[in-house]
């Protein structure tokens, strides 16, 4: 066979070339340069005004650690809350925060998602906040499945207003509004959530197992969609011994674990030996587990990554320029405008 070179190209099968430089955008490399390293202090603000011993402290620490480990830029992160002890959490986060109206944290968080898709959104609600006055918003937030991490600080009581029964107060609990013990069966936030269409992430955890609290919140944060985490939270001020039995008996929590859920490390496994392998994609089993309250199931009950996000379904690529907004509004108004005989918008504007 002819063995000369072809047209000056040396014959070689093994010759390799360096890859062409990947397209470099100067902004990318500069931003890279400034990638911050964060400490827990970067997320701390003020001294929490919660009672000593309050479980909200544990939740605060867990979210601060999460933010630090995920390197969330404080100016790209927002915590939204309603009203209640738990709703004070945004004050203690050195990020953006919105301490809003009782029960209204979720619609505000949804608005933020739509207007500022670049922000990471967290929501903190009390049981009164979420399951009582805010229940309607809660149901629809599950169905809309917008990307955010919602935490229900469930202390079974109205803490801030000094011990009134909440929808999650167990039957028989004596409170200021139910001095002879509450009459109704408690609402089960997990069962409610798991019953709403489009539900995409449901987990439960207790405030007194820090490691698990962190892991669960981290999984919730990484889930793309509406992640709902019910955190059983102690209120030593109004219900000082309410959770003691659970607190001191590791057998009274049921650790849910699975390769697609939480992986339990050996330290935890040594103490909490009451475990169940539960596949979070199994909705029916999740519902069964949710209905049990003793032992308290903790871990990821349900996760479905395929539920569409409302903000993606309805994303609008148009730039919200002033003229776009103005024209949109004018077009709406024009539907109801009655012009005098012979007058039109065009003429009106010309004049």
């Amino acid at each position: 066979m002819n063995d000369t070179t072809m047209n000056g190209i040396a014959k070689s099968g093994a010759m390799t070339f360096p890859l062409p430089l990947a397209p470099v955008n100067v902004n990318d490399c500069l931003l890279e340069l400034y990638e911050e390293h964060y400490e827990l202090e970067d997320y701390q603000k003020g001294v929490p005004r919660w009672c000593t011993g309050c479980g909200d402290n544990a939740i605060l620490t867990a979210v601060q650690r999460l933010c630090r480990d995920e390197k969330l830029a404080p100016e790209k992160t927002v915590f939204v809350s309603g009203i209640g002890c738990s709703s004070r959490l945004p004050h203690y986060m050195n990020t953006y925060g919105f301490h809003s109206l009782h029960g209204r944290a979720l619609p505000i968080a949804e608005g933020i998602r739509l207007a500022r898709p670049d922000l990471k959104v967290f929501v903190n609600m009390g049981d009164g906040d979420c399951c009582s006055i805010g229940a309607a918003h809660w149901i629809h937030a599950i169905r809309y499945n917008m990307n955010m991490t919602a935490m229900l600080h469930d202390n079974n009581i109205y803490g801030l207003t000094k011990k009134q029964a909440s929808p999650t107060s167990p039957i028989g609990l004596k409170t200021n509004t139910t001095p002879r013990g509450s009459y109704l069966e408690a609402l089960n936030p997990l069962s409610v959530t798991l019953g709403v269409s489009n539900v995409s992430f449901v987990a439960q955890v207790v405030d007194w197992i820090p490691k698990l609290l962190y892991q669960t919140l981290s999984a919730a944060y990484h889930h793309k969609g509406f992640s709902f985490v019910r955190i059983i939270q102690r209120c030593p001020e109004w219900l000082p011994t309410h959770m003691d039995d659970y607190l001191h008996d590791p057998q009274r929590v049921l650790l849910l674990h699975h390769e697609n859920g939480l992986e339990i490390d050996s330290e935890l496994a040594k103490r909490y030996t009451n475990m169940e392998e539960h596949d979070p994609s199994n909705l029916n089993r999740a519902r069964e587990i949710a209905s049990g309250s003793d032992p308290i199931p903790v871990g990821i009950l349900y996760r479905n990554d395929d539920v569409p996000l409302y903000e993606e379904v309805r994303s609008d690529s148009r730039l919200r320029t002033t003229s776009l907004v103005k024209n949109g509004l004018e077009a709406e108004f024009d539907k109801f405008t009655i012009w005098p005989e012979g007058q039109t918008r065009a003429k009106h504007e010309a004049a």
Binding site: P20, P23, L30
Partner: protein
């Protein structure tokens, strides 16, 4: 003349190219390669041409095939009761359009044809005979979703297609640019506006009133006290102001983006600024333009980069220095980084933001000077696209003219564009597409890839309009060039990988694994029996189509056909053997198969010069195959060696197997029961064991279980402190009393504080405290 003499005459022609009155007939224009026999009239065939240069839809639909569109539309009508009728009309309309395009009636030659116009004209024409055609044409049209120029394979095709794809890519770049600029400007203006609104000036009563201009004159506007509002606002909030440097910087980038001339502004602006042009006919002009606009480009790219940082609040004027224990890392500030922006050259990724330069040149016009310019342009790494169109592949090389009689006179075989191609490949980061015009539709995806490539791209296209092929359509000439390997299809994509095998693709050639594409050729002989033979299409066949080279072929009358007449590929092999044996007079002659105007099969002898050119082109193809990873000699050698090594190893293993004793495998029994027992130790015991083992009598906290509840830290914040994870540990056991330790242990709701033994035996009340501490130790 007897057979013997005839054979000698044939050999004589093969060796000398002379007829010597031998009964051999000259090859003239009436003969065509056998494989084209069925395609005498291309307007009657449904094939991928003509093409629609679509100006609607995504870039993937930039180049469409008329037949493809009709097929798609018919497919969409699958469920329709009129489908068959519409399909038949569609095919007829297609044919009508082809005819009109091939032999323009109402249109000057070379003027671009409009798809809609030709489609409607064809519909009008056919409706005269069948009134339902009109309906079919309309319904098909509605399904096409395409409009633009309709082009057939001709002299203008390469530049039309390449330019069209280029402009489609530029249009999507323009859209992206405008969207980005609009977004950035909106946010930059918002920053500037916010300053005004937040300044004392912005809170003056007039401005507040102006904010309600729409309500001017209404009772609200007249009753509202804007003066009081202004006073409150000015007192209540300190005015916020941008630093002078930042305001100037933002204003500067706004102006630069507003004034840019690289893209046509979306809305006409007043003034005389005109957008730059990017299509050139000489590389020198393109390079000159690039140099002239370089500073402008730098300014714009810099403004865009700064704007991105500004709108995200990420612009840091000065840098920072981080001092660790030993090391200190400095980060430069953006002021410094942007001061020298572009000084070290702009990289292709950044430049991709701007439009790409397109240069269209004819290889026949490429002198040494222009060739150099193209090489320079391609080696800059700039996103420049160069099209070199070749119209004549067989143009004799520089030292030869007209014929090939002298031995040193090789065919150029597209030498000019080939030189460019070789240089481009050696530059290693140039995207290359070489293709005949007829292949362009099939290669539209590669074409688009090249146009969107982040660096220089070189397109070498053979038009098929040679002017030496009589009335053979350009499409067929171009296709024959690909088929014969005279102009192989090459896609070289540097972004596809790091080595030849991933970057160079030649699989778009017909039968890329073989030396030549071989096709079955069927015909009837005189006794009307169907005969079939496999016919290869070689450079010799391609040359036989060209007026200038017909003299290298001689038709052998059927009566004189003999066994000694063999196909070109066989002859190439044979002549190598004969040459090796020192044979001077060969025993066979190479032949090609043709058809004459009466569709009769004919054979022509190929003379030695033409055969040698064929051999040369075959060698080039073979080298290309190797580069493309086919029949790679290095690889073959490597495989051979590896096989030899493997065989050796295998032999050795066999040897050692025979000598070594068989390993004794003992099933290992897991002490399962024992393990289970160890696991079942209760939690309390574990904690106690750990406490005794690692802490002795010292107090300690199970830090990992701490819930940050503040109980212990409130008892004594020197003794109890939080670590970096905000979980408590004993910072200093001596900073407080044993009582405090015990009280903290009692207060800790999760019972993780272990007080240990008292350190100060003189502390009052120890007896009681030790009892209280017991449950926590």
């Amino acid at each position: 003349m007897n057979m013997e003499v005839k054979a000698q005459d044939q050999i004589a022609f093969y060796l000398t190219g002379q007829h010597n009155g031998s009964g051999l007939k000259p090859l003239d224009r009436s003969y065509r390669p056998a494989l084209f026999a069925r395609h005498a009239d291309l307007t009657a065939v449904r094939y991928d041409f003509p093409l629609v240069l679509n100006s609607e839809g995504t870039p993937e639909r930039a180049v469409l095939s008329l037949s493809g569109l009709v097929d798609e539309a018919v497919e969409a009508l699958r469920e329709d009761k009129d489908r068959d009728r519409i399909a038949q009309h569609g095919y007829a309309l297609e044919r009508e359009v082809r005819k009109e395009l091939a032999h323009p009636i109402g249109r000057a030659n070379g003027v671009a044809a409009d798809f809609a116009t030709l489609w409607n004209a064809a519909a009008a024409q056919l409706t005269v005979e069948d009134s339902t055609v009109d309906d079919s044409a309309k319904r098909l049209w509605a399904l096409f979703h395409a409009k633009g120029e309709l082009v057939d394979a001709d002299f203008a095709l390469p530049s039309r297609v390449v330019r069209h794809v280029w402009s489609v890519v530029q249009a999507s770049k323009a859209t992206a640019f405008h969207e980005r600029a609009e977004r950035l400007l909106l946010k930059l203006h918002a920053i500037l506006d916010a300053e005004i609104a937040g300044s004392d000036k912005g809170r003056l009563p007039e401005r507040l009133r102006a904010g309600l201009a729409a309500q001017a004159g209404t009772s609200f506007a007249t009753t509202f006290n804007f003066d009081a509002m202004s006073r409150i606002l000015i007192d209540a909030k300190p005015a916020l102001a941008l630093s002078e440097a930042r305001r100037r910087r933002i204003q500067g980038i706004v102006d630069t983006i507003d004034r840019q001339r690289f893209y046509v502004p979306k809305t006409a602006v007043t003034g005389d600024t005109q957008a730059h042009g990017f299509v050139f006919y000489r590389c020198a002009d393109a390079l000159q333009a690039y140099k002239e606009r370089r500073q402008e480009a730098i300014e714009l790219l810099k403004a865009l980069s700064i704007a991105e940082l500004e709108v995200n609040g990420d612009y840091r004027e000065s840098g920072s220095t981080d001092v660790d224990d030993q090391t200190s890392t400095s980060v430069p500030g953006h002021d410094m980084i942007f001061e020298d922006f572009g000084a070290g050259g702009l990289d292709a990724g950044l430049l991709a933001t701007l439009p790409d330069y397109l240069v269209c040149q004819y290889s026949s016009e490429l002198g040494a000077e222009e060739t150099l310019q193209i090489v320079e342009a391609l080696s800059t790494g700039l996103p420049i696209r160069v099209l070199v169109q070749t119209d004549d592949l067989l143009e004799p090389s520089g030292i030869a003219k007209a014929n090939l009689v002298a031995p040193e006179r090789h065919l150029a075989l597209a030498s000019r564009s080939r030189q460019m191609l070789d240089t481009a490949i050696n530059l290693t980061d140039v995207f290359i597409l070489q293709s005949s015009a007829s292949q362009l539709f099939r290669l539209r995806e590669a074409l688009l890839r090249g146009m969107s490539y982040n660096g220089p791209a070189f397109f070498s296209v053979f038009s098929g309009s040679t002017g030496h092929n009589g009335d053979v359509p350009a499409y067929l000439v171009a296709a024959a060039a690909t088929e014969s390997r005279a102009f192989p299809t090459i896609v070289y994509d540097p972004s596809a990988g790091s080595d030849w095998s991933t970057r160079l693709a030649i699989d778009d050639n017909p039968s890329p694994q073989d030396a030549w594409p071989v096709h079955p050729f069927e015909y009837e002989n005189e006794t009307l029996q169907t005969r079939s033979e496999n016919v290869a299409f070689t450079l010799a066949d391609f040359m036989a189509m060209d007026d200038r080279f017909r003299e290298h072929f001689a038709i052998v009358p059927k009566a004189d056909w003999s066994e000694a007449m063999i196909a070109v590929p066989d002859s190439l092999k044979m002549s190598v053997k004969e040459l090796a044996k020192g044979t001077i007079v060969p025993s066979t002659v190479p032949c090609i198969t043709l058809v004459d105007e009466n569709f009769q099969v004919q054979r022509a002898i190929v003379n030695r010069r033409a055969l040698e050119e064929t051999r040369r082109s075959h060698a080039m193809w073979h080298s290309l195959q190797e580069l493309g990873g086919i029949h790679n000699s290095h690889a073959a050698l490597a495989v051979e060696r590896a096989e030899a090594r493997a065989a050796e190893r295998f032999a050795e293993q066999m040897k050692s197997l025979v000598t070594a004793p068989a390993p004794s495998v003992q099933p290992v029994k897991e002490p399962l029961a024992a393990a289970a027992q160890a696991e079942s130790i209760t939690v309390g015991e574990v904690a106690v064991t750990v406490a005794q083992e690692s802490h002795g009598d010292d107090p300690y906290i199970e830090t990992a279980r701490c819930t940050t509840c503040n109980e212990c830290t409130q008892v004594n914040s020197k003794m109890f402190a939080y670590n970096g994870d905000k979980q408590a540990y004993i910072a200093d056991a001596n900073a407080g009393t044993y009582r405090q330790l015990v009280e903290a242990a009692e207060g800790c709701q999760v019972s993780i504080i272990h007080p240990g033994k008292p350190r100060n035996p003189k502390e009052p009340g120890l007896d009681d405290l030790i009892v209280r501490a017991a449950p926590f130790n």
